[in-house]
């Protein structure tokens, strides 16, 4: 849905989204990386299983929630990528036990 204006040089990191390795740049947010992927959704809602993706990108709307390194419902627009980070799309209501 989005593309980089520049060629990421040097500082390339690798994260995984649902187990698939994806290139990222240092200091960008998880949500920004996700906007370059297909499909662009990050979670399904607990109420109706509707798909949601990033909306406000500044921590207000809480629609870009995903599971990051095993922690559920992380605001991905406020979370910067780290090399080796594990990002998983989140389905429905997260379990307290997971």
């Amino acid at each position: 849905m989005f593309r980089k204006l520049h060629d990421p040089r040097g500082e390339a990191l690798t994260v995984t989204i649902d187990g698939v390795p994806v290139a990222a740049e240092a200091n960008e947010s998880v949500a920004a990386v996700l906007l370059r992927q297909t499909p662009v959704w990050l979670r399904t809602t607990p109420v109706s299983d509707a798909l949601r993706g990033p909306y406000c990108m500044m921590g207000v709307c809480f629609d870009c929630l995903a599971t990051v390194d095993g922690v559920a419902s992380v605001q991905t627009c406020l979370t910067q990528v780290r090399d080796g980070m594990r990002i998983d799309r989140q389905r429905g209501r997260p379990s307290v036990a997971s």
């Binding site: 593309r3 204006l5 960008e28 947010s29 798909l51």
Partner: protein
């Protein structure tokens, strides 16, 4: 003075000058423009000031005292400063319409943040539907960056220009350069992209993501077009969750259709020792935000005994003159870009609360059953009970109730704000030092 700045973002600059240190000197700086680049000097002065800085930190509770609780890197702590200055800025005005929850519908501000922080633009021709300076600025930046705009749907209602003209002289006195810049954006847009005026209704249609966009104009023209990405914007409103949580007195700003904390001439709230500067005090823009910060800082220095009161008063005078001049453009902008009524009271099928998926129709049903306020509606429907805590639906609920019950929005009010202001894990809470909990 001993100053600690706690910032939710990873680097200084707020949203206007976001990521300016990294972007300065790159081709992206030319795309984002001169006003953005001016932030580098401000951030530089801040870095050199000696103030403590904790980036990537979320404040999740503020109390009288004042006292603030925050989380950084998974560790929670609290602080009891002599004075607390809240510079929480603004958020984009919630602008619900049918289909606004579909992936591929985002705000214009969101797209601009992605340009500033990640250097990325929409990969396909994008539809922009909006009203206000930010939608025009971003459209200009996107074209400058080589992006493509499928069409610009101007949602400014008919008659706004005529209403704003009497306020133009004051605006020209205040910020002639900015107004000329704005006119330039509009004329460039009209020349280069399909531009539709007076759009009254929009609807996003799709399955897993937006596929089509339907719009209606004031003259009755209807069109349905293919859309992969739709960016929307209907102005900005002050971020007031922290001041609401503190119980500070707020007032209704009719010109800006929003609540703002009531402040004295120094920016102090009704809560002793708690100040507000920036757009959180009422929408004024970057220049205004800096001036309000300087005025509040003088008062805080005097309050803490670091500056004689007379000296603070004298130093504040010229800053207040500049503030008055900087704010003189607001009546013109607020009138010109006052949103259409459907932004406040959307069609019945619209999802009002994104988190709990409560429709406008359900809110109306509640209103028909009695004369509930926002807190009763929250209890009955769960609207406002999700993770965003009413940041996206508070104004919609207030407007729909006011509309259905024949009341005024300031009379209806917003939800009561409950702690924590931002979600935190039980682990973070448990890691609070016992001294933080009991002191």
């Amino acid at each position: 003075m001993d100053v600690l700045v706690v910032d939710e973002q990873p680097t200084p600059g707020g949203q206007i000058w976001r990521n300016v240190e990294a972007v300065a000197g790159t081709p992206r700086a030319a795309i984002l423009g001169k006003a953005y680049g001016e932030g580098l000097a401000v951030v530089g002065r801040f870095r050199a000031s000696g103030a403590g800085y904790e980036p990537g930190t979320q404040v999740w509770q503020v109390e009288t005292g004042p006292r603030a609780f925050m989380t950084r890197n998974g560790a929670a702590s609290s602080i009891e400063p002599g004075c607390l200055l809240l510079a929480t800025g603004a958020q984009e005005r919630p602008a619900p319409f049918p289909g606004w929850t579909l992936p591929g519908v985002m705000t214009v501000g969101a797209a601009q943040i992605v340009l500033k922080t990640s250097g990325q633009i929409p990969s396909d021709p994008v539809w922009i539907a909006g009203n206000g300076p930010l939608s025009l600025l971003y459209a200009a930046q996107l074209l400058q960056a080589g992006g493509q705009i499928a069409g610009f749907l101007d949602t400014t209602p008919p008659g706004r220009t005529a209403a704003a003209i009497p306020k133009l002289a004051a605006a020209l006195f205040s910020a002639p350069g900015d107004l000329m810049k704005g006119l330039g954006w509009v004329s460039a847009l009209r020349r280069r992209v399909p531009y539709v005026q007076h759009v009254t209704k929009i609807e996003a249609i799709g399955g897993d993501t937006i596929e089509r966009l339907r719009y209606v104009t004031a003259s009755g023209k209807t069109a349905t077009v293919e859309a992969r990405l739709l960016l929307v914007h209907e102005g900005i409103v002050p971020t007031i969750h922290p001041t609401l949580a503190l119980g500070c007195r707020h007032g209704w700003n009719t010109n800006q259709d929003s609540f703002a904390p009531q402040l004295d001439i120094w920016g102090e709230t009704s809560e002793p020792g708690v100040f507000v500067a920036g757009d959180g005090a009422g929408i004024g823009g970057a220049t205004t935000a800096c001036l309000r910060g300087e005025i509040a800082a003088l008062r805080i220095a005097a309050r803490l005994g670091r500056l004689p009161e007379a000296q603070a008063a004298a130093a504040a005078q010229p800053i207040r003159s500049r503030l008055t001049r900087a704010l003189a453009a607001r009546p013109f902008l607020d009138t010109l870009y006052r949103p259409r009524s459907a932004v406040f009271v959307p069609p019945d099928e619209t999802v009002a609360c994104r988190c709990e998926e409560v429709t406008v129709a359900s809110i109306r049903e509640q209103a028909a059953a009695g004369r509930p306020g926002p807190n009763q509606v929250k209890a009955f429907t769960r609207a406002g009970m999700g993770p965003c805590q009413g940041r996206q639906c508070g104004y919609t609920i207030a407007h729909v109730l006011a509309d259905a019950e024949g009341r005024e929005v300031p009379d209806v009010g917003l939800y009561r704000v409950r702690p924590p202001l931002k979600p935190l894990t039980l682990g973070e809470l448990a890691a609070l030092d016992s001294a933080d909990v009991t002191s």
